[in-house]
């Protein structure tokens, strides 16, 4: 298992290097003038040239690439082209905000979706199963920004039950923070409810039809014992994998939701950086999101290995 984890971590480093390279290429390969983008169309060419020289963006691309990779290797993410401040503190603050929002969204959606999926699987083809499937398909086909806008208009503006801005006041306590995050988290949770519930349902139906479940039932175990000891663990394997991917996705920022609720998480921060050609922020942000993806998928692989002995044994080999 230790070997498996070490191999995965090594592979993660390679993936992060590839990710940083891709971001660098995307940010640099298209014809653009960083100085011009930062200073705007009305700045004089001399000022633009001076800024490009100061930022080093007038150097050959390979020199910039080598410099960028060397900095990343030494965990020096550099300074923002826009603010001149180190990019890491601002990005970590944005990451913390994104983590709170994604965490609350997952907290809202995972238990409900798993329970709904298992409930539907046990009542396969009955009206209650159809209802869960329909609800899941419907909720996952409405984009977050539509749900978010409806929530803002109805819950925030019309009834004024919850704040329409997601950013809580400075030093707000946890209940206040949750109150502020509830609407955007709900908008995100509604979409992911569908994915997770349907995945859980499909996994549970497969397991419920398997020989070992039938054997367990025929052995005389109660339904709850069968569900707990045999179905749940195996049925949730694909669900865990889906959740891991969603964690990375949610953390990376649902830009539309962040925009609607004026929440400055990773999505808005990265968009702001991309619009202003702030390459250090963009690269560091992509690396942070990449690390979260890696950790989420690694954790899910470990959980899956723990849940399924066959995977554990394969990993051991």
């Amino acid at each position: 298992m230790a070997r498996y984890i070490s191999r995965r971590l090594l592979l993660s480093l390679v993936t992060l290097w590839l990710l940083a390279t891709i971001v660098f290429i995307i940010a640099n390969v298209l014809p653009n003038d960083v100085g011009r983008t930062i200073l705007g169309p009305f700045a004089s060419q001399e000022t633009v040239d001076a800024l490009n020289a100061r930022l080093g963006t007038d150097r050959p691309i390979l020199v910039r690439y080598a410099d960028s990779m060397l900095s990343l290797a030494t965990l020096d993410f550099g300074e923002s082209f826009i603010t001149g401040k180190p990019v890491l503190p601002d990005l970590l603050a944005a990451a913390a905000r994104s983590a709170k929002l994604a965490g609350l969204a997952l907290l809202l959606t995972i238990p409900v979706a798993i329970i709904a999926g298992l409930f539907a699987a046990r009542r396969r083809d009955r009206p209650s199963d159809r209802a869960v499937v329909l609800l899941g398909v419907t909720s996952s086909s409405i984009p977050e920004f539509v749900t978010g806008t409806i929530l803002v208009v109805v819950v925030g503006v019309q009834f004024q039950l919850l704040p329409v801005l997601a950013t809580p006041p400075p030093n707000a306590d946890i209940p206040t923070q949750i109150r502020y995050l509830l609407m955007p988290a709900t908008a995100m949770a509604i979409v992911y409810f569908g994915y997770i519930a349907r995945m859980t349902r499909a996994g549970a139906i497969d397991v419920l039809q398997s020989d070992y479940t039938r054997t367990a039932t025929m052995k005389g175990l109660t339904t709850s014992q069968v569900m707990r000891r045999h179905v749940l663990r195996n049925a949730l394997i694909p669900t865990v994998a889906v959740i891991a991917v969603q964690i990375g996705y949610l953390f990376g920022g649902i830009i539309a939701v962040e925009k609607i609720f004026n929440y400055n998480g990773m999505g808005q921060t990265m968009l702001f950086a991309a619009q202003r050609k702030d390459i250090p922020t963009l690269t560091a942000g992509a690396i942070i999101i990449g690390i979260v993806y890696m950790l989420a998928t690694l954790t899910s692989d470990l959980i899956i290995a723990w849940m399924n002995p066959r995977i554990r044994l394969d990993a051991g080999k």
Binding site: P170, K259, N262
Partner: protein, 574 residues
């Protein structure tokens, strides 16, 4: 009595001030223009009132007009009591929605978000009057030019303290000006050189300019946003949050670029005790969420919004819209050196298709003023309204096209994806079609538009010679039209996308730059307006208002057209 006061004013004025007084007395300036110009030249409130009264204005109205004007004693002595007529509750906080600042370095900042935050703490020599339209005494109580406008003496307000308790002096002003000159502040470039500002004594600064300039107070005012006065010890490149300071009504308490900023009352402010205890700025990246935040009762004021995103605010009974008339405009450039618009009759024809009132109504719900295909905005004191306003005349447009032997004119109208510009392009297309002109609208990202259509970097000489034949470009508010004239219209100007080159215009612009007296400035502007309207290198259909506002539960909020919201007189309505 009145005449004796008038004579007293005449005797005590400088030649430039006297020139304005005489121009008003002889009916060459309207009362509004007189107040505006007299304020720029540093005439006192009492003097303005005396002149108006002596020249036939009623004392009451004259006083009222003067009290609205910059430089009045009301504005100068007690800004915090400006909203005193509305029943108010002491204390409280106002929550302001503002665009996220890119930088709050008071010298290097270039965005409205930064202007708004820094102006809460730092102040200008000349601030904004409470009517939101002109300059008023700020850290300078009085300013006086010499005979030819080359030397300006500013008398500073006494008893002003920095937030840390040290006294504000002329040394702070001189140090600030040196930093601005070194940084190449756009407004002061070519106007003030190194060593141009000298402290005559602790409360007096003398500016010796590189040439005569009748508008200099504008350039050290709220209308030149980087000229905030910073302490002598301030180091260029320092942001406000790194060195919180200022002489203004508010002290910075917290600042987070990601979320917002909070300010607390400066109890030692020279203007007195502000009605509110604190202010809170919440940062946004778009107008839409600002509007919903107001509707959801999470903000009380919005620094700036546009008509398209904030339409609901214009009809909201609980929202007080502040529509500040400004020189904000769009220029529809037409290449004058080559292509289909080389003949001025073709350019005039296109301009004659503009239905300006309809554009203003459809794009701004009436919150704009008519443009007349020149850049001299109605709010400038030297604007001449006698130049005939161009209106839609389709038959005349067809006649001009026929005279120029042009038929089936087809052109691509390039427009950047910015605010109302794509809609403007579509409306212009439909209006031009009435005269048989086919415009194909190309809406492009701003990067593409600025980089490839408006002023491509290459070929570099002359600047903008790679510009497209026809397009719409945006221009922000300027306190004087020099930038528009110098960069966009002068021969080889750096933003001259129409490649306009006119000896008549260049001569008129030179005359405008070097003139300081009323008659000379106005004569130069008349010439500029006439030449541009006739030669039509650009179409200019409107100057639109800067829109901001606040909930009616607050009074005394006013804004500039540069993102600065003034809250020192703001209070909660009882």
């Amino acid at each position: 009595m009145v005449d004796s006061q008038f004579d007293k004013v005449r005797r005590s004025t400088t030649p430039l001030q006297l020139d304005v007084v005489e121009a008003f007395a002889r009916g060459r300036l309207s009362r509004r223009e007189f107040i505006q110009r007299a304020t720029i030249l540093g005439l006192s409130t009492g003097a303005i009132g005396a002149v108006i009264a002596a020249c036939g204005g009623s004392t009451a109205s004259g006083t009222a007009a003067a009290s609205k004007a910059p430089g009045t004693s009301a504005a100068a002595s007690a800004p915090a009591s400006a909203a005193a007529s509305v029943p108010a509750v002491a204390g409280g906080t106002i929550r302001v929605a503002s665009q996220r600042p890119v930088s709050i370095d008071p010298i290097a900042m270039q965005d409205l978000g930064g202007y708004g935050i820094t102006a809460q703490c730092f102040e200008f020599l000349c601030t904004l009057d409470t009517a939101g339209s002109n300059i008023a005494p700020g850290l300078a109580l009085k300013w006086t030019p010499n005979a030819d406008g080359t030397v300006w003496t500013f008398n500073l307000r006494q008893g002003v303290m920095w937030h840390d308790g040290t006294p504000f002096t002329s040394a702070d002003v001189v140090a600030t000006m040196e930093r601005l000159v070194a940084a190449g502040n756009a407004g002061l470039k070519g106007i003030l050189g190194p060593g141009g500002a000298v402290a005559t004594d602790a409360n007096t600064v003398t500016f010796t300019l590189l040439g005569g300039n009748g508008n200099f107070p504008y350039l050290v005012s709220v209308f030149n946003a980087q000229t905030l006065i910073t302490p002598k010890a301030y180091v260029a490149g320092t942001t406000l949050d790194k060195m919180p300071a200022g002489t203004g009504a508010w002290k910075l308490v917290t600042y987070n670029q990601a979320t917002g900023a909070t300010f607390a009352r400066n109890d030692a402010w020279w203007g007195g005790k502000t009605p509110l205890d604190t202010t809170e700025y919440i940062f946004f990246d778009a107008t839409g969420p600002m509007v919903t935040a107001y509707q959801g009762s999470q903000v009380d004021a919005i620094v700036q919004f546009d008509v398209l995103s904030g339409k609901s605010l214009l009809t909201d009974a609980g929202f007080n819209v502040i529509a500040t008339e400004a020189a904000l405009h769009r220029q529809i450039w037409m290449r004058t050196d080559t292509g289909q618009f080389k003949d001025k009759r073709v350019r005039q024809a296109l301009a004659l298709t503009f239905d300006r009132p309809a554009l203003i109504q459809q794009l701004f719900q009436g919150k704009a003023q008519l443009g007349n295909d020149h850049v001299i905005w109605q709010g400038y004191p030297y604007y001449d309204s006698s130049v005939p306003q161009r209106a839609q005349d389709i038959e005349k447009a067809k006649g001009l096209l026929a005279a120029a032997n042009v038929s089936n004119l087809t052109a691509t109208l390039h427009a950047g994806q910015l605010l109302e510009i794509p809609d403007l392009a579509v409306l212009l297309k439909s209006q031009a079609a009435k005269a048989g002109i086919t415009l194909n609208v190309a809406v492009e990202s701003l990067d593409t538009f600025y980089g490839a259509q408006w002023c491509p970097a290459k070929p570099a000489d002359p600047p903008c010679s790679g510009a497209a034949e026809l397009g719409i470009v945006d221009y922000g508010h300027r306190a004087t039209p020099d930038v528009y004239l110098n960069a966009a219209l002068k021969t080889k100007g750096i933003w001259n996308s129409s490649q306009y080159s006119s000896p008549d215009f260049d001569a008129a612009f030179k005359q405008f730059q070097t003139s300081v007296g009323v008659d000379a400035q106005k004569a130069a502007c008349t010439k500029i307006e006439t030449v541009l309207n006739d030669e039509t290198p650009i179409g200019l259909a409107y100057f639109y208002n800067y829109l901001g506002g606040s909930s009616k539960t607050f009074s005394g909020v006013y804004t500039s057209a540069l993102g600065q919201m003034f809250l020192s007189a703001t209070s909660k309505v009882a």
